[in-house]
Symmetry: C2
Subunit: 363 residues, 2 copies
């Protein structure tokens, strides 16, 4: 690890000069000849600043704390983490990740530890796009919520556009010529739970996707039929409910909340000798990547590139925490900055790719 000191020695200047040059603060302060010489030897030696030592002075580590509860164990979490990492890297940040297993006490401790490591801010990963009440101990560091919104409306958040998912899926079936399109949602005992606690009577994603389904039908001038919309949980009851729907309404298109629900459609179709993709069409969000991995392309026409794994497929987190002075221009492509969240004039800039939306408390 080459240091500024070495560069200074090799160039025959002082460390201060090296610091000035390498931080781009040499305009009119360091002779251009010297400056370029410093830059060259830095390059030659492969110099990279030590962010930890730097943080001792600046108290900016370029490290973000990534906090997740159970999310880390779910199949979609990987891509969430991936997106966050990609975004962080592209802006020169690193992610220090912890998980709390839904344990409040542990969470408190982990947050404290992250602060110990002088993180510049937090990424707080939730589930189900639900309204959460993030712990006060996150303050005063800037924080962005992922797949969840702040109950108190203080923190910025990034959530997928669930309505659009339901809408697009339904459009697809309409355009494919389906005449009778069903919606298979989640229900029964399958309720959104966080560490064993039921936190709502329906999955927010299910509600929104269903609404997208309804809106697409309306927009196309179709009738909507409550009998075509069911909510099932798992196992035999779910299979029975879907079977009943098959025989009672004979739909030729299915919008499924997720692959778990699509599963029963496949089984029912198989039991009746129907072929998916010919006799009936199924579109659903493939949380687990199982349907698309195993039955596509022949048996299904699942193709929702903008969501991919459904929940978090292309959610590229590009919300990042930057400390800037208030008079800095907003970064290109960003939305209006949020109000300051710390004494150091910290601001949060949120940018959004694809069709995911960002909740901006400032509006």
């Amino acid at each position: 690890m080459t240091t500024m000191k070495e560069i200074a020695e090799r160039t025959g200047v002082s460390v201060s000069t090296v610091s000035l040059v390498l931080n781009g603060r040499d305009a009119g302060r360091v002779k251009p000849g010297i400056a370029s010489k410093v830059r060259k030897t830095a390059e030659d030696l492969g110099y990279r600043p030590n962010p930890l030592a730097r943080s001792l002075r600046t108290s900016k580590t370029k490290i973000l704390g990534f906090i997740s509860d159970e999310i880390a164990t779910t199949p979609y979490a990987g891509r969430l983490i991936l997106g966050a990492q990609d975004a962080a890297r592209s802006m020169g940040y690193m992610l220090l990740t912890v998980n709390t297993n839904g344990d409040v006490e542990l969470e408190r401790h982990e947050i404290s530890t992250l602060k110990q490591y002088d993180v510049d801010g937090f990424l707080y990963a939730c589930m189900f796009d639900r309204a959460v009440d993030p712990p006060d101990s996150l303050e005063p560091l800037p924080t962005v919520l992922l797949d969840g919104t702040d109950k108190r409306g203080r923190l910025a958040s990034i959530v997928p556009d669930e309505h659009r998912i339901g809408y697009d899926a339904t459009r697809r079936l309409i355009e494919a010529g389906c005449r009778s399109i069903a919606y298979i949602g989640a229900g029964g005992e399958d309720l959104p739970k966080v560490s064993g606690q039921v936190i709502a009577d329906r999955y927010p994603a299910d509600v929104l996707r269903e609404q997208g389904y309804l809106d697409a039908l309306h927009e196309a001038g179709r009738e909507t039929d409550p009998d075509l919309m069911i909510r099932v949980s798992f196992n035999r009851p779910a299979l029975d409910a879907v079977s009943d729907l098959f025989d009672r309404k004979r739909p030729d298109g299915f919008v499924c909340f997720n692959d778990a629900r699509a599963w029963y459609v496949y089984l029912c179709a198989a039991q009746r000798g129907l072929t998916i993709g010919r006799d009936v069409s199924v579109v659903g969000v493939d949380n687990h990547r199982l349907v698309s991995d195993t039955l596509a392309p022949e048996l299904t026409t699942v193709d929702l590139p903008h969501y991919e794994m459904g929940y978090w497929g292309t959610l590229k987190l590009v919300s990042i925490i930057e400390h800037r002075t208030p008079d800095d221009a907003a970064l290109p492509g960003t939305r209006s900055p949020l109000p300051d969240l710390s004494e150091t004039n910290a601001m949060i800039h949120c940018t959004l790719l694809e069709r995911h939306s960002v909740a901006d408390p400032a509006r």
Copy 2:
């Protein structure tokens, strides 16, 4: 964030004394009265050392770099990361996670960045338990491989006990009274790939689970039958192959490499009016948690608690990197330490939970 300085001021001693006491180096060097006073005010102020500042002197950050390629996007990765984090936390480490997307150039850069952050060592996460050739740039920091082994036999690694998975699954069906047990493996175009490149002609996990299946049968005095063992990929060809097996051999038990393969068994059974759990039994590794989430317990008897999500369910990574002097006693429950891997007398201690095994180059 309270510092040693504050404690020193409040206690009326110097920072050095505080440092001595708080690091437990006060035996016979600091008056017990002073020492306890220091400890008390440290407690009162909620002092926690700044590991970054400390690292400037000790060059030990208590941070481990967690490097993964595509693994982060797969469904089982979440639990791997979880296990690593839990283990790290329990030993006072944090994880700085990066992903390389299988890009060698990016990998080089990320490793360099991690070194910049002065990580104490690396966790190098692989896939498929394959033999890999980790980049030289990891050196000289101690490194542990996850779900992969070192081609050159230098690095320690942790891998799941795949043979045991196949063995247990088969035993279960034998004990359930199945008379004809099939093995559905992976084959065809479904080859282990890393960033698009085929890296073997079969999944190592598949090979090992299949061997476990064979060994369980032999041990039970059963005949093995090559016709009962097939390897399928996806879609129609897979379905056709399983259908053929169903009709040709009429097995009443199935050991499936993974849930994707079990899927076809379910479909075939449904098409024939057979009920899983009564007419035929299926045991498989549920990578995606879809089978167990949706069809258990009524339709399946999948119950392999020691593997849970199959690959990485209970793989609690407790292999951790510790810098210790050579004369330190081995930690309780650890295996024999590996040879030093750096100039600083670094050693790697590996402990193992459940039935996963650790490859120990020192043996």
